[in-house]
Symmetry: C2
Subunit: 386 residues, 2 copies
Amino acid sequence: MTSAQEWAALYRRELLDNVVPFWETYGIDRQCGGFLTCLDRQGRPWSTDKYMWLQGRAVWMFARLHRQLDAGRGWLDLATRGAAFLRAHGRDPATGRVYFSLTRDGRPIHLQRKIYSEVFYVLALCEMARATGREEYLAEARDVFWLIYDLWRHPEKLGRPMLSGAPRGSSLADPMVFLCMIEELSPIDTDPRYAELADEMTRVALRHVRRDRQLVLEHVGPDGETFDTPKGRLINPGHAIEMGWFLIHLAQRTGRRDLMATALEIIDWSFRAGWDTEFGGLYYFLDADGRPCTQLEANMKLWWPATEALYALALAWRVTGDDRWLDLHRKNHDWAWQHFRDPEFGEWFGYLDRRGEPTHQLKGGEWKGFFHLPRALLYLVLLLES
Amino acid sequence: MTSAQEWAALYRRELLDNVVPFWETYGIDRQCGGFLTCLDRQGRPWSTDKYMWLQGRAVWMFARLHRQLDAGRGWLDLATRGAAFLRAHGRDPATGRVYFSLTRDGRPIHLQRKIYSEVFYVLALCEMARATGREEYLAEARDVFWLIYDLWRHPEKLGRPMLSGAPRGSSLADPMVFLCMIEELSPIDTDPRYAELADEMTRVALRHVRRDRQLVLEHVGPDGETFDTPKGRLINPGHAIEMGWFLIHLAQRTGRRDLMATALEIIDWSFRAGWDTEFGGLYYFLDADGRPCTQLEANMKLWWPATEALYALALAWRVTGDDRWLDLHRKNHDWAWQHFRDPEFGEWFGYLDRRGEPTHQLKGGEWKGFFHLPRALLYLVLLLES
């Protein structure tokens, strides 16, 4: 039986020897600022476009590593330069909205009709505020946070026509990103509205939970109704598992025992439903009724559900003390270590087919950057060393 | 050695016994009009939403089968009722644009910032005009055709912000859909602009061809420049093969020998570049320089590149008389027949992993309907019986 200390040492080594050096070596754009995330197996860039979800996430990650792991490795400097690029080029001057992608030198390519570019901008600046103590970061993070809230309340402002047949309702990602932002903002910004909003978003998130069916739906109606459509039946096990550990953190902060129990159930159901008993690994998408999925990548195995489960299962083990969780953790850990990890060139592969063979050799792209894997490893180190 | 007559008989049986009955039985919405395309392996609907690309394509296909194969099977009636649904619900009254998707009863769900919903609407009504001789279909097809041309010339009218870093240029799909629409419209609508436009679109399409590298790029700059970006390096072998047979048809109509030679080269290069020599089948996407593809489905095997190659290789064989093409045709045919075809429940699977195993059991969805497979089979029958 591996002890918590041995697990912690393993994850610390992985973070410091196999993951962070890859991004420090290949992922910093020392010429134009910001980060290069489209990196091939060896770390060579295959695109220099800058995806703002990943730019914001990398700033957050480097600043967080500085604050929570080691202030002596120059990580804050990398984060600060990334934040400067974000702030110089990231927002549409007319509306304050955050672009989805930029050219290498910061010219805007694309603006999504979604709120998530703004979300990672807030997380980046909020962590910069925590790491540096500088008020200007917090002030801008706060501004963008309320812009996001306004866009969420008035989605017509995102510019998507509101057609009469389009289903109204709630996407799980929305309450999750609010809970995530509030977890980051509330320790440094005293505003009673955060606690109220966390309650509201928790209620919204829990409307996605189907206790009788032991599952979490990605999309439900405005009052939590189930839609018998592909969107309404969609399950994303990795996403639900991520929500599980968000809710454990919230339960720890608020002392809500009911929330802790629900969070543990969500992780348990979602891991079991998502696990491929034939080839191992977590499916990316499932249909709640076993009907076809529209997503072509549905039965692929992606790195981020694996890393979310890595942290969530270890966290569940530590908060319950029940070794049943450790067994699940070990199963997920062993499969992920064997299939995603690249001992030859560092970092992890992102995209495997159902059998666990890489469909892509890339280490980073439009969606995979310096975030899910190092975040899980950092959180695991902090959890298991404590 | 199989003769042309034997091939023709095989494809006729496949069309009439294995493909058309599946859609006649499961794909007609006799309650609300239009077609159900989201069908599982057995033909049961897994969504009732109506995707306008596929609604227009199904109208075109049934009307075409009536006109070119058999007028005695009720196909024109199915097409006519489909066209009535399209015309009743398909267009935004304010702008004339065609929606991307509707609810089962015809309420709009989504409007794309692309021209392709309009394209398949034009093809549907144009074929209805040819099949019925009714002027009203042609008049509306003509109107929407010039609306598409205007949107292509003035893409800002599609509503996508034209940001300063977004690459300008040409997508191969655009000249291809114009060539396709002109192929359909010009036999029944005497307008000298079609021939001029066909010349213009042929020039635009040929700017995507890289003779020195023996490949066709999906995206090039306004003057045909190559972009060293993932989008600029993207190859879609099935799409290039489809362009190949479009150009053979155009060369046959215009007597242009240079175009015929280029078309044959495009099919040859694209089939050889796209063929997976390890597992067989055509890759969905490739990067021209072997760099990573952004598309998660890049190494999957889809039904439609296989069916485009089925017709293109047989056509190349017939126009050249060279049995080298027949060898390629047989290779593609055998793999497709073995892996895509479902002898148990009819029709073909749409989505296989690289090894050729179905990742999805569905027979139809948002993108797969009554079009690529029956079109290829009809064209093969007409080609090989002649």
